[in-house]
Symmetry: C2
Subunit: 243 residues, 2 copies
């Protein structure tokens, strides 16, 4: 069943409708009367609907059943990724959404080459959020991960630190493995932090440790900055028996 | 330490040298006398060398120590991916190499949109192998995964079936999870098979089952064709305690 994310007003209405972007998308998909679709509020609530009538500018639906989304992982993983170059962050937003990330957060570190200028930030955030929404639709998620931008590394550590388990992956860490710091089903919230192209500075690792972050390894092969968060996310979902 | 993949003759010589492409790369990296580097034969053998003398057209090395590569995973995972559109296969070659794939194999299936025409195949294979080599260098691999092209799905099933454990990921499989068909450290060789953008046809799944392939799920969220093999590979490496 195709899914559409709608706002609260539509989601809570007795006779929900598809309008604007959703309407256009429905036309592209050639949605037909009597076809079943899923409406999502993006917060894990869904309605199974049937297409009642296709009007000139909107589509009228009939509610069959309200339910909790069945496709959200039990564990909430927040992906903290130091801002990489150009389109790599967009790649990570798309893939992390498919893989079940709860939210995707970026922030600058000492070795980040890319800079976020105030002027373009709003436009970029909008674009990034759209990528997350589109990936959530395609992968049948019940939630759309929020894409956040934090002003500095210190704030990122603070925010990431609010999870029950906060992990940072560092290529020079050789002894502590991800497996040893995960305990299946124990944590409801996990933050994973990864560095930019040039890696973290030693002092940044020290700061993280001082904040109680667990610094660990993703193995002997050096992963690119855009591969590391997705590898870690896959492994965590696997560890939590998501597949 | 920077690593260079060299041919057998250079690898076995008493005084190895960097020439041609490797020489150019060394110049770009501004390699200096007395700097340590790693020479690899691409088959898990390495030599720690020191730069002895930089000549006009080649660099003379001195052997410090021959050793087995320390960075290769214990389990050999062959990645079988139905040919996707355009640059997605290149993406998977790069990422699967970083993540420790033993080999990367593509083949056509009923719903493949891309076609491999005989004329361009040689040129493409060369390009694909170069991507694997470059990713192997960057990720510090001791082996370069071979990129192979098979003529049809039947051959792919036969070849993949030579592994001790052969898995196929299918989005309509809801009960058999990857976790249930992996047993940590039990298998030395695993093949993973994933479909094209449009997925496998039901009849292709039946054929795979008839051949003894284990059909399993990567969870409730639908992964894009280029995400699935990398997610599975990450999970297998994690299961085998690679990180």
């Amino acid at each position: 069943m195709v899914r559409f994310f709608v706002d609260e007003a539509v989601f809570n209405s007795e006779i929900p409708v598809l309008t604007d972007e959703n309407f256009k998308h429905a036309k592209v998909l050639r949605l037909k009367t009597d076809e079943k679709i899923v409406l999502c509020d993006g917060k894990s609530n869904e309605i199974i609907c049937v297409v009642k009538e296709i009007h000139q500018e909107y589509i009228e639906l009939e509610i069959l059943k309200r339910q909790k989304s069945l496709n959200e992982p039990k564990v909430k993983v927040s992906v903290y990724m130091a801002l990489p170059k150009s389109d790599k962050f967009e790649h990570v937003i798309q893939k992390a959404t498919e893989l079940g990330a709860f939210e995707i957060v970026t922030f600058p570190t000492a070795r980040c080459v890319s800079k976020l200028d105030e002027k373009n930030l709003l436009r970029k955030k909008e674009r990034w959020q759209k990528i997350a929404e589109s990936a959530a639709k395609q992968s049948m998620r019940g939630c759309i991960p929020e894409v956040k931008v934090l002003p500095d590394y210190k704030t990122a550590l603070e925010e990431a630190g609010k999870a029950e388990n906060t992990l940072l992956f560092y290529e020079n860490e050789n002894s502590v493995m991800l497996k040893s710091v995960l305990k299946e089903d124990t944590y409801k919230t996990i933050s994973i932090i990864t560095g930019p192209e040039g890696g973290f500075e030693k002092s940044e690792i020290d700061t993280a440790r001082a904040e109680g972050v667990k610094v660990c390894s993703l193995g002997k092969r050096i992963l690119r900055c855009e591969t590391a968060p997705l590898c870690a996310l896959s492994a965590i979902m696997y560890d939590y028996s998501e597949f």
